[in-house]
């Protein structure tokens, strides 16, 4: 249990992941679902970047000269998360576009109403 306390970044991201996961599944409103999806993606990014963080190091940008490897924080997770952000943005954009179309066709964005309306 004490390990959870020490690296609290990871615990925070897992809690966030849980919240995002729950909102994605439980809420019937489409916009809330997309918000949940985003929370989930950001929590995974937080988890990975927290993994890369080394106490007391500096962000990996070469200002004037190269200060040797041990000075910088691990850059790989941050670069991964660049692509992660792009992926999250594109999925959210597609989901929002579809919600607009749904609103046009069904008139509501409450999923349970759409399900009943859809059946008739």
């Amino acid at each position: 249990m004490e390990r959870l306390i020490t690296n609290y970044y990871e615990t925070a991201s897992i809690i966030l992941f849980g919240i995002g996961f729950a909102t994605l599944l439980l809420h019937s409103n489409l916009i809330k679902k997309i918000i949940g999806m985003n929370i989930m993606d950001t929590s995974v990014m937080l988890f990975l970047i927290a993994k890369g963080y080394i106490q007391g190091n500096v962000a990996p940008i070469i200002v004037d000269e190269f200060k040797g490897v041990s000075e910088y924080v691990n850059p790989i997770p941050t670069s991964l998360m660049l692509t992660g952000i792009v992926v999250a943005v594109s999925t959210t954009a597609l989901a929002l576009a579809l919600t607009i179309k749904m609103y046009e066709k069904y008139g509501t964005i409450e999923l349970n109403e759409i399900l009943e309306k859809g059946d008739e």
């Binding site: 994605l24 995974v44 594109s90």
Partner: protein, 490 residues
Amino acid sequence: MTIIKSFPLIGVLILYLIAFIMPLIKKNSLVKFLSVISFSTCLILFITCLRYVIYNGSYFYKIGHFDAPYGIEFKIGIIECVIAVLFAFISLMVSWYSCYSIEHDIDERKIPLYYLLINILVGSLLGIVFSNDMFNVYVFIEIGNLASCGIVVVKGKKENIKAGLKYLIMSCLGSGLVLMGIAFLYSMTGHLNMTYIHESLIKSYMNYPQAIIITLGLFTVGLGVKSALFPLHTWLPDAHSSAPTSSSAILSSLVLKAYVIFLLKILYRVMGKEIIFNTPILNILLILGSLGMIMGSILAMFQKDLKRIIAYSSVAQIGYIYFAIGLGTELGVVMCIYHIIGHAVTKSALFLCSGSIIEKTCQKEITNLIGVGKEMPYTLALFFISSLSLVGIPLLPGFVSKWYLAIDSIGVNKLLLIIIILASSLLNAVYYLPISINGFFDEENSGGKIYKSKEKTIKELMPIAILVIAMFYVGINSEGIINLIKTALA
């Protein structure tokens, strides 16, 4: 000689480049021709690469100038090449079929966009199969995810958008879990390259017992959602039945399989045998697989819509594939890959036949597809033959994989499993045969139908016929394919 080594990458690149050229071209027929050309070149490339790999063994292909732990690399093995040839062949057939039938499904302006999405989707599936780098596979999964949502939604009707959105949310959920799994793996091992992860895991898996179980759980659930494992399959019937014909054929025969291949890689290449044997993961897969087999077929029995029946039957067949993985033996994995090949060919033929039937008779319910045998005898005959393979008539791939699965489950001396396999093949018969029987033999209320009136031209039936012939080929020389996979796994 070494140029052949980079053929897989060239194949994937060609697919992407041609995909992006498509919106520029105004004439639709040129767009279609281009997509068929791109798939056929890929097919040729992969066949040569397969022959090369058979003779000189599998190899690692490093992309760009950075070698393994930092740069991305492709692992080109016999299994990957066989699956790539399968993917290229089926997408060639489906795009050839869609050249004739796509106008009925989507309107003129969207056709270049549609073929762009198809090319990107198949390119990303090949990426998933080849790539040996975890994050690279994740990016390919995301691209595939968006592209497959695109081809479901492209029809733009009410139920399409609902199904597409449902599919998008479920697969985002899945890829979120997969990303979390990759994060866990990265935190444990510090590497992203599968072979390096495996080496460091072997050394250090003692001191992360729970973390490994969590990672396996994340991957199984995430990929289970995306490959429609039984309890997580709710999105599949709506997505596949409302999508246009050729896209539902690609969706159910190719897309589901790529994620299973990735799960196989994680289980056997990243984790390795000793780790997964002391986790309960294989039994869970076994239970979920057999559940999927039975429940998938039962659900299919109650469906009225033709395409939904086939969609539910692919849930059952995915249950077979997970059942094969769950057995845990080496023969189980071989049979899992063989069933992927057999099922992909059969399912795409089934979807194309049902698509052409629905397109011509514009009837979706099987109740009023009664006299269709008189009107479209060849299409329904092809449908009947491919449904025979799923029912399990000897000499067809369905029977071979059922037979070996049963033998394997006896080997693992779990006799109960044979009953499950046989029960599910019986259930398949119960919901597949009435369609063909009512189609051919019901004279009563199909009196008014004139013979061969709505038959599609031979030109349009050619792709389905070739798929059925390929199915026979896979069934007949099943021994060759199985030995090929066995050598690959050794």
